[in-house]
Amino acid sequence: MERTIPGKYQNGKEDRFANNLNRNKIHPQKFALLVACGSIMMMFAAWTSAYLVRKAAGNWLEFQLPPAFVLSTVVILLSSLTLHASYRAFLKSQEKQYRYLLLGTLALGFVFLFCQYRGWTALSQMGIEIGTNPSGSFVYVLSYVHAAHIVGGLAVLAVACLHAFAQKLNPTPKRKLRFELTFIYWHFVDLLWVYLFLFLLSQQA
């Protein structure tokens, strides 16, 4: 990727410090985002380990995850595909595909949230309220906090859509970087949900 910070080794000259070039291969903002994702991951990892520790202690209500969560998993995986296709179109300067696939991703993001909402109401109808038993409380906490991260992702996608529709398609390094940051974060919250879903599924009786 071309370097976008002003004055950072843009002259294309051979650098005798090889490590110096290597360390700038990844843009600092992209790297910072990856570090932040790792940090968020630690928070969820703490909860899933707490889940295991708490489950081992007994007094644990077993129940089936509502099917809405299966649907939401499919939806969010689909949204990652559309985002990826949009990025490909962006690189190939296919303006129409780029714009509408991005908009589609945003819409799928909202559909995901709606599915989560249906999941919560289904849980509630099953008699699993947030305070009923820690087994249910964990599902609520994990999906609530994940949903909060999705809301952040939707805001980012909305801004990306605004850029896509308000400006002519012109893949400058700056816009490319911005897209990539959106891209990394959305894939991250997607994979995070897949992890949480598979984890919860594997813990069912």
Partner: protein
């Protein structure tokens, strides 16, 4: 923009940067103007890492004074439980209860616990995390790596202001009519999970959690920046193995913080759900005032696991930056290369790794399976190995050195002394069998105050005295600095040494008074002694604060670019660097950071190219 009056003649370093430096066209983009155009964005909402460092430092100092004064109040209670505290009524108000017949004022027991809790929270998080790592990571990472600023100056600014908001919330909680949180700085449930558990468990605890959550955001924003800056913005030639040990320490500290603080947040979030949403993560069947609550099936031990998964690495988040600063100061002030540079780096990494697998040694008495305790005992004791490597290397660095005994180096040597004294008692406590006897006694209080409280403060003082010239272009007063040192080291030992004896005898910590235990009355005089020592030691810290602020405006001016004769890059900037740190080109690094006394030269800066046939200093 702050510039230097001594433009010419150029120093050797400036000439080297001009000829060998790397032109990043920074000043062509007028970046400086954007950052420093008026008072507000120069000194308040500043994005310049040097100003942010000072903001962290001064906020930390204010908190240190508040936290220390709290400790004096509860020390007065412990040392002189029979004396009247009526004279504190104007400050503490209703927390001093006046007996209408005798006129005797006693400290409210609730407030005693609030003071202990706040003292711990403030010192651990606000002073020794934000004030120490926040200050010096911000100041030194860009300067010692040859970067213009942090990777994201904006996030860096946010990092400080989240800390500031967190401070405001905590400060506000001190003035609540029900008092601040009073269940101990570790905030174990059920005291923290049930709003009705004690007077501080209601609004006080809500604000405590809010404040610490904001604080974690601040640490994470800072940490992301530090890691990215270290990995991405080093100047040409600054390979990882050429970084000063300060940077290694800050870098590893940031990584530990990023991995452990989110776990604390997850623990806090479950606590919030237990408090507000009726869940039972941490609350099992419980009676308050004879009434059964609805909570069933929770486990308070779960919180302890989540808390100490941060809590133990937090100890290293506090001590590693101090270790980095001390390594650098000892090398510079004894005019010798640091002994065993790579061993120092590897021991930092080893400590960081081990810090994640020892947390349950805080829980030996919490009903953890003794077979699991064995595992934690072994890894806890293994931490002694990298720690001993570091101590050995510091002492060997000093050995045969041409030591300048100034305030900076004395505090660095004092750090080593404190770290040894406190580390040795850690070996006692790390054994679960001995810990059964010693846990929750003054022995523990003495141990952790010496090893991470006083030692980290010594590292911080060494850093402040050493880098004050870089921060403010002036020196701190040396005589006052030396008085500060001797007062503090003698005072600190006078406070904490006797606590070991009291603790060995079984006197429990956190008690309001001991008059119902006749066997402890033999320690009344020792408790008086500790209290008096604490008051005297505190007065020496006031002296330091006076010296600090006096020196900002009236201290002896720095007239040379490199007053300590150090090799690292921060001393190749102008005496008062503006935004972007270097005026023209960026320096390129030609050698490692510790070329002292090499080939007949007293020191060789990192920007000096290697001579023909010269062997690199780190090649052994």
């Amino acid at each position: 923009m702050a510039t230097v009056d001594i433009k010419s003649p150029k120093t050797q370093e400036e000439q080297l940067i001009e000829t060998l430096g790397f032109d990043d066209h920074f000043h062509d983009h007028h970046e400086g103007d954007k950052y420093r155009s008026n008072f507000i964005n120069t000194y308040v909402f500043s994005m310049d890492h040097k100003i942010i460092a000072k903001q962290f430092l001064i906020t930390g100092m204010i908190w240190a004074l508040i936290g220390a004064m709290m400790s004096l109040v509860f020390r007065l209670q412990l040392g002189f439980p029979e004396e009247s505290m009526a004279w504190l009524k104007p400050v503490l108000g209703k927390w001093i209860i006046i007996n209408p017949e005798t006129g005797m004022g006693t400290l409210s027991q609730d407030f005693y616990y609030a003071l202990v809790t706040m003292h711990g929270t403030i010192l651990v998080f606000f002073v020794l995390t934000a004030g120490l790592s926040g200050t010096f990571s911000n100041l030194l990472i860009p300067l010692q790596l040859g970067a213009r600023d942090m990777a994201s100056p904006f996030l860096n600014m946010l990092s400080y202001w989240f800390f500031f908001m967190s401070s405001l919330v905590m400060m506000y909680s001190l003035f609540l009519s029900t008092g601040p949180f009073s269940g101990g700085w570790t905030a174990y449930p059920p005291l923290s999970a049930l709003p009705q558990a004690s007077s501080g468990s209601g609004t006080g605890m809500t604000l405590w959690i809010l404040s610490l959550t904001l604080f974690v955001v601040s640490v994470l924003l800072g940490g992301i920046n530090y890691i990215t800056t270290v990995l991405n913005l080093r100047t040409k030639g600054m390979s990882l193995w050429r970084m000063p040990l300060t940077i290694w320490a800050f870098f590893v500290t940031a990584i530990i913080g990023l991995l452990s603080f989110p776990v604390l947040v997850s623990g806090f979030l479950l606590l919030m759900f237990d408090r507000g949403m009726g869940t039972s993560f941490y609350l099992s069947e419980i009676f308050v005032g004879g009434q059964a609550l609805d909570h069933v099936g929770g486990s308070p031990i779960l919180y302890q696991h989540l808390f100490w998964f941060l809590g133990h690495p937090e100890v290293y988040i506090i001590i590693l930056p101090a270790m980095g600063l001390v390594s650098e100061v000892l090398s510079v002030q004894s005019r010798k290369p640091i002994f065993g540079y790579k061993a120092m780096v590897f021991s930092i990494l080893a400590i960081a790794f081990l810090s994640f697998i020892v947390w349950a040694h805080h829980m030996f008495m919490s009903g953890v399976n003794p077979f699991i305790s064995n595992f934690f005992v072994v890894f806890t004791l293994i931490i002694a190995v990298p720690s001993a490597v570091k101590v050995f290397n510091w002492i060997t660095t000093l050995y045969g050195g041409n030591i300048r005994f100034n305030a900076a180096s004395m505090f660095a040597i004092g750090f080593v002394s404190m770290f040894i004294s406190g580390g040795l008692t850690g070996i006692f406590l790390g054994n679960s069998a001995i810990d059964i006897q010693q846990h929750d006694t003054y022995f523990v209080v003495a141990h952790f105050h010496i090893v991470m409280g006083i030692a980290a403060f010594f590292g911080m003082f060494a850093g402040i005295y050493n880098w004050f010239p870089k921060m403010y272009g002036r020196f701190m007063n040396e005589t006052l600095g030396k008085i500060h040192f001797w007062g503090t080291i003698i005072g600190a030992y006078a406070i904490f040494w006797p606590m070991h004896y009291i603790g060995m005898a079984g006197v429990p910590r956190r008690y309001y008074k001991f008059d119902t235990f006749t066997s402890f009355s033999q320690f009344d005089d020792m408790n008086k002694f500790i209290t008096i020592a604490a008051i005297i030691t505190f007065s020496f810290q006031v002296l330091f604060v006076v010296n600090f602020f006096y020196s900002i405006w009236k201290g002896k001016k720095v007239t040379t670019q490199n007053p300590w004769g150090a090799t690292t890059l921060e001393w190749t900037t102008p005496i008062r660097p503006g935004h972007g740190n270097w005026e023209g080109k960026l320096p390129t690094v030609q050698r490692w950071a510790y070329d002292y006394g090499k080939d007949g030269k007293e020191f060789v800066t990192q920007v000096t190219p290697m001579a023909e046939g010269e062997v690199s200093g780190d090649d052994h």
